[in-house]
Amino acid sequence: MTRRLNANLIVGAALVGLVVALALVSFVWTPYEPTRINAGVRLAGYSSDHLLGTDRFGRDVLSQIMVGARTTLFVGIVAVGVAGFAGTPLGVMAGMAHSRWVSEGIMRANDLLLAFPALLLAIMFGAVFGASTLTAMVAIGIATIPTFARIARSRTLQVMKTEYVLAARAAGRTRVAIAVRHVLPNIAALLIVQASVSFAIAVLAEAALSFLGFGTAPPTPSWGRMLQEAQGLLRIAPRLTLWPGLGIAIAVLGFNLLGDGLRDYLDPQLEDRR
């Protein structure tokens, strides 16, 4: 099992690193207060004062982009966190269960959840709990649970058939012990890859929700909402669409490539491509 660095991994990590760096730096320093309104410099172009210009309220675009990176990462972390921490145990249980009822029951519930698209859940949650990044992301996380559960279950089933596990069972180890010692380490790789891909999807989903008005509420900067605000100004100030759009594209691209790269790096047997 050779672990080779590959182009996807490197490029992906670099792009993700860029986004993370922006977010981290923003905690320490931004050129301006991102929410500070300054009517005098509305819709200003590129200048030494405002490197990326200003928006319709006179707020500095670069500062908004930097703080927006935080929102982007927050989005992914919550969604993937919810999906992973809820979906994985469910999948493992379904895979390890002796009784068919438990296993089938979990998978049926899974299928039912799958019938509710992520966007739909996010809209409804937003209506009940008020539109905010958190509610939208929890909703998307919940809608992603089936994906993680499915992967966890199918891989668990494979692992359960390996010699190590059969031996452990013969030796009378408890199921929890088997789960922790054998199953989890072996499904971890696949889950990490999925986490990366789901992260990308969550970022796109937040953009769509902010566009519809169910995502991040003002005045917190968010790349998705910046796009929505820049819509009408596309002909007058296309740069307001360019930078948040680029930010989203880089984040999504980065996480997707990272996912592919990790897949090839961690477990080439998963998908033999070379």
Partner: protein, 305 residues
């Protein structure tokens, strides 16, 4: 099993809607409504009855297609949902066709040439394509093709029977916005599936016999490659039914997603319940259809166990 899923889904939907804060009667009467009028309105809507009664009343009508009457528009809900559903379906179906038309050749070539720079380039392009939100693609397309060069309309919807030409012209940009991004997603799956097939023994045999890679593929491999692709198509179709809502917004298309959003905003509970149920049924149906298609595509399944 199907029916049980439907029943459970209906309970889940109803329960969720009853938790929504905000009173439909209040919303219908708007600003300056007094408590007496609101109470009267509630009686008219039937929202003052116990929840179980309301649920049974609603669920009972569903099998016959009776979704009730909307609080806000006072029109019968069923035909409205069907109508908007069809609009979204036109949009999504055309988008998927465009996606398939682009993705299959791109994915196949990317797979066959995966060791060459051109293959890597195509693969990279599809990665970038996924990273662009479809409403952004829509906005850009409008800016270029509708505003700058007035080739296509910036939005709106004409029913196909009214004016087929206008209908088609109006469908192009939104369907392309959806289709381009879906094509990128699909291309990756096509590439991966074709790569898997290329490694199979019977392909190697065909190549050994002297067939070029494409002909070998077409003759022997396409069926196998089609299976994972068809699965993905099915999943995409299901998600797109609601996912198209952003594109519907940008292009002002009266589809199912917009109906849902309006219903939520107006607390038109019956309408929202109806739309969600229809969506859920659609998703379950699509999965069933995909299973059917498998049987057609996969010769091994066809020959009976």
């Amino acid at each position: 099993m199907f029916l049980v899923s439907l029943l459970l889904a209906s309970i889940a939907v109803f329960a969720f809607m009853s938790v929504l804060p905000g009173d439909p009667a209040q919303v219908a009467l708007g600003v300056q409504a007094d408590p007496e009028a609101v109470a009267q309105m509630r009686a008219r809507f039937g929202t003052d009855r116990p929840l179980v009664v309301q649920y049974l009343d609603w669920v009972g009508g569903l099998p016959t297609g009776d979704f009730g009457t909307s609080y806000v528009t006072q029109a019968v809900i069923g035909p409205q949902i069907v109508d908007r559903f069809l609009v979204t379906l036109w949009l999504v179906a055309t988008g998927m066709v465009i996606a398939v038309v682009i993705a299959v050749p791109v994915g196949v070539v990317a797979a066959v040439r995966h060791r060459e720079p051109s293959g890597a380039l195509l693969s990279g392009a599809s990665q970038v394509g996924i990273a662009i939100p479809n409403f952004l693609a829509g906005m850009l397309l409008i800016a270029v093709f509708a505003v700058h060069w007035r080739v296509f309309p910036a939005g709106g919807w004409t029913p196909p029977v009214d004016d087929p030409q206008r209908f088609l012209r109006g469908l192009v940009l939104p369907a392309v916005s959806l289709g381009l991004v879906q094509a990128a997603v699909l291309a990756r799956y096509v590439r991966s599936a074709v790569l898997d097939v290329l490694r199979q023994d019977f392909i190697r045999t065909a190549r050994a016999k002297g067939l070029g890679p494409y002909r070998a593929l077409v003759r022997h491999g396409m069926r196998n490659a089609a299976i994972p692709v068809v699965t993905v198509l099915g999943l995409q179709l299901a998600t797109l039914l609601i996912g198209a809502v952003v594109v519907e917004r940008v292009f002002v298309i009266p589809g199912l997603g917009s109906l849902l959003l309006d219903g939520v905003a107006n607390r038109d509970l019956l309408l929202v319940q109806g739309v969600v149920m229809v969506l859920v049924v659609a998703v379950l149906l699509v999965n069933y259809l995909v299973d059917l298609l498998y049987v057609v595509i996969d010769p091994r399944l066809r020959r009976g166990q």
